[in-house]
């Protein structure tokens, strides 16, 4: 392309095409973010003391009385902020893994993080008794140790993507079996509490646990989003990426570590929320229609998915609060099924 001068018309079409694609992506991100914020306002407004979105905005802008402002800022805002941030983090982490493994089943789960975190939390719950802090620390330690073990077991003169996946599946299978064994041997109440945590839940998230997670998530999100171009080059294959000037191994390792850290910060606070990392990138990709994996739409889609799911989890069987992970799998799954079915119909018409 750079060798032969292009016809002006062809060049114009090319530039226009790229501009249109970026325009579509920007519009998509804006739309998804707007919806996510709207749902966040609804989450803040819902509960035993309901408030309309207008009132919530008014309180957030500083127009609230003592009780209103306590309810909004101290009780409900942490949960909404957590849903937005965690959803974005999980969406991006999933996109990174699907891009690196070039497999739509890729997610941070494949290197065993979530399963290891569940093991850590289960051990904390069954052995130590399981305060919030102990569970979080157990999950963090379990997840990180597992991810490290998988990475080193898969290392053999370079981290071949396929080998990483197979080793991850092996380790996850062992830990999952251990988890099931622990759940089966535990008292039924402990087992059910563990199952709620294992599904992923935002119940009881407050500022003291959320702030440290946010301090980790926000800068990492920025770093990963900045590395989106590198990721798209890695998608072209190791040889092509090297030819384009990417140092493949360090670049891949950096992206994996950042994605795992995003998952870690989320899981420590909310448990391994299922399916957001898997489905948000696929949904975003299908709506965006871009080649390759794009990170920003995946982030926005993840945030929207989690915050919308949290609203349902709170309200569906109120006052019984479902773990949000149970809802994310349902909503994400139904939406993915609908998209797939629509694709099938569209292909039929052509």
């Amino acid at each position: 392309m750079s060798a032969a001068p292009e016809a002006p018309a062809a060049a114009r079409v090319r530039v226009l095409g790229r501009a249109r694609r970026l325009g579509r992506e920007t519009a998509l991100c804006l739309l998804l973010s707007a919806l996510a914020v709207l749902f966040a306002l609804l989450v803040i407004g819902s509960g035993d003391y309901p408030m309309g979105p207008g009132k919530v905005v008014n309180v957030i802008l500083g127009g609230g009385e003592g009780l209103d402002s306590t309810i909004v800022f101290q009780w409900r805002a942490p949960r909404a902020v957590a849903a937005l941030a965690f959803g974005a983090a999980l969406g991006v982490a999933g996109a990174v893994f699907q891009s690196l493994t070039r497999n739509p089943l890729g997610s941070p789960d494949i290197i065993g993080f979530s399963t290891g975190a569940y093991t850590g939390a289960l051990l904390a719950l069954t052995l130590v008794g399981g305060s919030f802090l102990a569970t979080s620390l157990g999950a963090l330690a379990g997840g990180l140790l597992t991810a490290l073990a998988v990475y080193f077991l898969a290392w053999r003169r370079g981290s071949h993507g396929f080998r990483l996946i197979l080793v991850g599946i092996g380790i996850s299978a062992m830990l999952a079996a251990l988890n099931q064994w622990l759940v089966l041997r535990a008292e039924i109440e402990v087992a059910m509490a563990a199952a709620v945590w294992g599904a992923g839940t935002l119940n009881g998230v407050g500022w003291p646990v959320l702030v440290p997670a946010l301090i980790a998530i926000v800068p990492i999100l920025g770093l990963v989003l900045a590395g989106g171009t590198t990721l798209n080059m890695l998608e072209l294959g190791d040889d092509t990426a090297t030819a384009l000037g990417i140092r493949v191994e360090p670049a891949r390792l950096t992206m994996v570590v950042l994605a795992v850290l995003l998952t870690a910060a989320t899981t420590a606070v909310a448990g391994p929320i299922a399916f957001v990392a898997l489905v948000a990138p696929q949904l975003a990709k299908r709506l965006n229609r871009a080649a390759g994996m794009r990170l920003a739409p995946a982030a926005c889609m993840g945030a929207l998915l989690l915050v919308a799911s949290d609203l349902v989890a709170q309200r569906l069987f109120a006052p019984v609060q479902l773990p949000v992970g149970v809802v994310t799998v349902s909503i994400g799954g139904v939406y993915l099924i609908w998209l797939l079915a629509r694709e099938g119909r569209a292909a039929n018409r052509i």
């Binding site: 070039r102 396929f162 380790i171 299978a173 099931q180 199952a195 080649a291 349902s330 799954g333 569209a346």
Partner: protein, 370 residues
């Protein structure tokens, strides 16, 4: 090319290539469609297969002797050949023999189902549970226990089978609907999506019904213990049907591995082959999962191990999987019985036996993809 984002330069091409890559990590080193015509290769392959079959038979025999009460080998043989009413013979006839047969049947079924799914979707990460079998079965169990108050394995085993079959049927409808029906990625995604929805509903219901949660956690883990001998006949029929279907599709599997277009060009009926394979997977995985629980990891790793010995020919790979998978399951069951009698389920040990093998395989020099 000057552009910093090469992906943007030619969206059409890149899309196609990433999609192809996404359909599996399988940069296949497929052999020729027909098995290599090297003299002796056939003898070597069938000889090795025979050895594994012998190993399986020995292991099954061994599993009859091992348990909370050790029974001498001569007595075991006697019980098989000239049964009488002694206590040892009764233990073997009523409890250990059905258990060994269950292990062989369920192991084969899960292994073959896994091999078929991996070949059909061209995805080395696919397992029998990916088409919604596990999620469908567990939701059905939760409904059976939570709503209808059914208790115990014999009560819910048919619910589990029905749930698995319904779920796979639904996955097929979503994944194969429309003209692009032959895209295996769509099938995998449909399975993941539907499986997620079903398991989400199942978990929510189980959290509301503690009794259902209690039964579900016992079933999920996967075990050969406490299964009634009544399930053996239906399971045997299911395995027979599945094996016949799989045998019919063996040649098409080799062609499918080359990609749908090539298979079509070679004159294979791709759509029909997929339906037959899916039917076989449904029957095999559904019956085995209902009978022993969600041990889908066995279906994932056994084909990887089998491919080590069989080479790329799908028919040999299926035959090896059918023998190797029950070896792993029986070994797991025996180990569990020896280490902590009655407290260590076969599903747990299976993961601890199979996973290191999978990791060792992955660390070998050339990872063999589907």
């Amino acid at each position: 090319m000057a552009s910093p984002t090469p992906a943007a330069v030619n969206p059409e091409n890149t899309q196609a290539s990433t999609d192809k890559a996404a359909s599996g990590c399988s940069t296949t080193t497929m052999g020729p469609l027909l098995p290599a015509k090297i003299p002796g290769a056939l003898a070597h392959r069938s000889g090795l297969l025979l050895c594994f079959a012998l190993l399986l038979a020995l292991l099954a025999l061994f599993s009859l002797a091992v348990g909370s009460k050790h029974i001498e080998f001569p007595v075991v043989l006697d019980a098989l050949l000239n049964p009488n009413d002694s206590a040892d013979h009764a233990i073997i006839r009523d409890s250990r023999l059905p258990r060994a047969v269950l292990g062989v049947l369920a192991g084969s079924a899960l292994g073959i189902a896994g091999a078929l799914v991996q070949s059909m979707t061209r995805n080395a990460l696919a397992e029998p549970g990916i088409l919604g079998v596990n999620a469908g079965a567990s939701l059905a169990i939760v409904i059976a226990v939570g709503t209808f108050g059914i208790n115990g394995f014999n009560g819910y085993v048919w619910f589990a089978f029905g749930g698995a079959v319904l779920a796979t049927g639904a996955v097929y409808l979503v994944g194969m609907a429309g003209a692009r029906s032959n895209d295996p990625v769509r099938l995998v995604l449909a399975g993941v999506a539907l499986g997620a929805v079903l398991s989400g509903i199942g978990t929510a219901l189980a959290l509301v019904h503690p009794s259902a949660f209690d039964q579900l956690r016992a079933w999920t883990i996967g075990s050969l213990e406490g299964r009634s001998a009544d399930v053996l006949a239906p399971l045997g029929i299911a395995v027979l049907v599945g094996v016949v279907l799989a045998a019919f599709t063996g040649r098409s599997l080799n062609a499918l591995a080359l990609g749908d277009d090539t298979a079509l060009a070679l004159g294979y009926k791709v759509g029909r082959a997929r339906v037959l394979i899916l039917l076989a997977v449904t029957v095999l995985a559904g019956a085995a999962t209902a009978a022993v629980g969600a041990i889908s990891f066995l279906g994932l790793m056994a084909p990887h191990l089998a491919r080590r010995f069989s080479g790329p020919d799908a028919r040999w790979m299926l035959a090896y999987t059918a023998v190797l998978a029950p070896i792993i399951l029986l070994l797991a069951d025996v180990l569990g019985r020896v280490v902590i009698p009655g407290e260590l389920e076969a599903g747990v040990v299976c993961a601890f036996v199979g996973a290191p093998v999978l990791i060792l395989l992955a660390r070998r020099k050339k990872p063999v993809a589907v």
